[in-house]
Symmetry: C2
DNA sequence: TCAAAAGTGTTGACATTACACCCATGT
DNA sequence: ACATGGGTGTAATGTCAACACTTTTGA
């Protein structure tokens, strides 16, 4: 299958480990083709060129499946990056010349972000060089991927403050504290525990189970599930008042 | 300047005539190259292929400048459309084959919307075949432009309910009723006049002038201006509570 | 003098914030 | 027994929704 040389997708994979927000990155190395000397090393998002006769969304799904093994997970297009000087860093130009000699110097990339429960990816097994980094503490990034991640995060924040998508980052059964930590981690603010619980428990689509946490060295918490079905049935698309 | 055959931008130009929300469309006709018989006619967004060595955002600005004469107006990228079957209607395939024979059958388009005060465009003069249509009552559209407009409108709604961008659609000096009608037209809901005014007048960046409407057959309204400067200085990026 | 939109305040319901103590479990 | 996070209520404040009459102008 031939690639489309001037069109790629990049996926910002967000994960939550019940403590903090993480981003999945892949190690990139460039070695001199003759001497094999290590020229540089850094990290990049999971990306690939779109293939001929492939829908954009499918390209993003394919990349995700290849890099994480996960299928049919939450995936949302957030922005397209098309400045002609996107690849301006000398190391990136060198890398492109070595790895994709057929690629033009004007590549636009469509950014997607996806949300996964970190526990579902075991990067050590399949892809040694693909690993989680805390969103707050990322390593050196290739290309314009720092910019792409910034934009992804700000789009995720807006989305999360409008729609209940946080559950995509949690195990199916979760506690209210885990949910609160998730919101705090993504939105970068704190919530009062009582007020948070009050708010959440009045939502009909967050359903308490007759089940408690086990194996924790403190009072076990009640577990909840999210019902997308109930949400879809009861949501009312109200837009905020003008700012 | 050569075009990039598989990459285009489409601009959804929103205008407000102090009454309702409008969208700028261009008439498209295809005639049989031999008999000159009219094969079909419909309307399309303002779009064009991106040029080699042109930034995406610049391409959108160029298209807008060419089609409306306007420069440096509000322009926001909202979504990229990249399904392989985007051009599936027979009339569209026919049109592409006639007009852009070099173009591949897999073209992705980056959607932008822009906001203009309708009064600033006099389509009759420059472009007879480019005209305003009420957003609520659009004619038959080519390609997937109905879908693109839907998405643009829903993105505009979300943006408008988060940020004060409505002023881009208004004359520099406006009345509170005009602002209210604008919000009602875009968001598709009604506001109580007293509550709306209460809310707006407490915003420091909407500044009353010592000036009144003239030439109206009723009590003249006070006029206001929007200060982007004051807004930028006083805004606090608060994200909503989880839904 | 009439028509048309401008302008103006109060009240009740609801949502948001702030805040402190006891509980159940594993070690 | 202790450390850890779970679970709970109330009062003050702020925000939102509903509602009707008078004013100013041009025609």
């Amino acid at each position: 299958m031939k690639i489309i040389p001037n069109l790629s997708v990049d996926c910002v994979v967000f994960g939550f480990d019940l403590t903090k927000l993480n981003i999945l990155l892949t190690k990139r190395e460039l070695r001199d083709p003759e001497t094999d000397a290590l020229l540089f090393t850094d990290y990049t998002l999971q990306g690939h060129h779109v293939l001929e006769n492939e829908d954009l969304d499918n390209a993003a799904n394919r990349v995700l499946k290849e890099k994480t093994g996960l299928d049919s997970i939450f995936l949302e297009q957030f922005h397209t990056f098309g400045d002609t000087d996107r690849i301006k860093n000398p190391k990136d130009m060198l890398w492109v010349k070595n790895i994709y000699p057929t690629v033009t110097n004007q590549v636009i990339t469509v950014g997607y972000y996806s949300l996964v429960n970190s526990a579902k990816i075991h990067p050590d097994k399949k892809h040694e060089d693909t690993m989680w980094f805390p969103a707050e503490n990322l390593p050196e990034l290739g290309f314009d991927h720092a910019e792409i991640i910034d934009k992804a995060l700000s789009c995720l924040r807006i989305k999360l403050s409008r729609e209940p998508i946080g559950f995509e980052l949690l195990p199916e059964k979760f506690t209210l504290s885990q949910l609160q930590i998730l919101y705090e981690a993504v939105l970068g603010r704190k919530y009062d525990r009582r007020n948070f619980r009050k708010k959440i428990t009045q939502l009909k689509y967050i359903i308490p189970l007759d089940e408690k946490q086990t194996g924790v060295a403190h009072k076990p918490a009640q577990v909840f599930i999210f019902s997308k079905d109930v949400y879809e049935r009861t949501k009312k698309d109200k837009l905020g008042f003008p700012i």
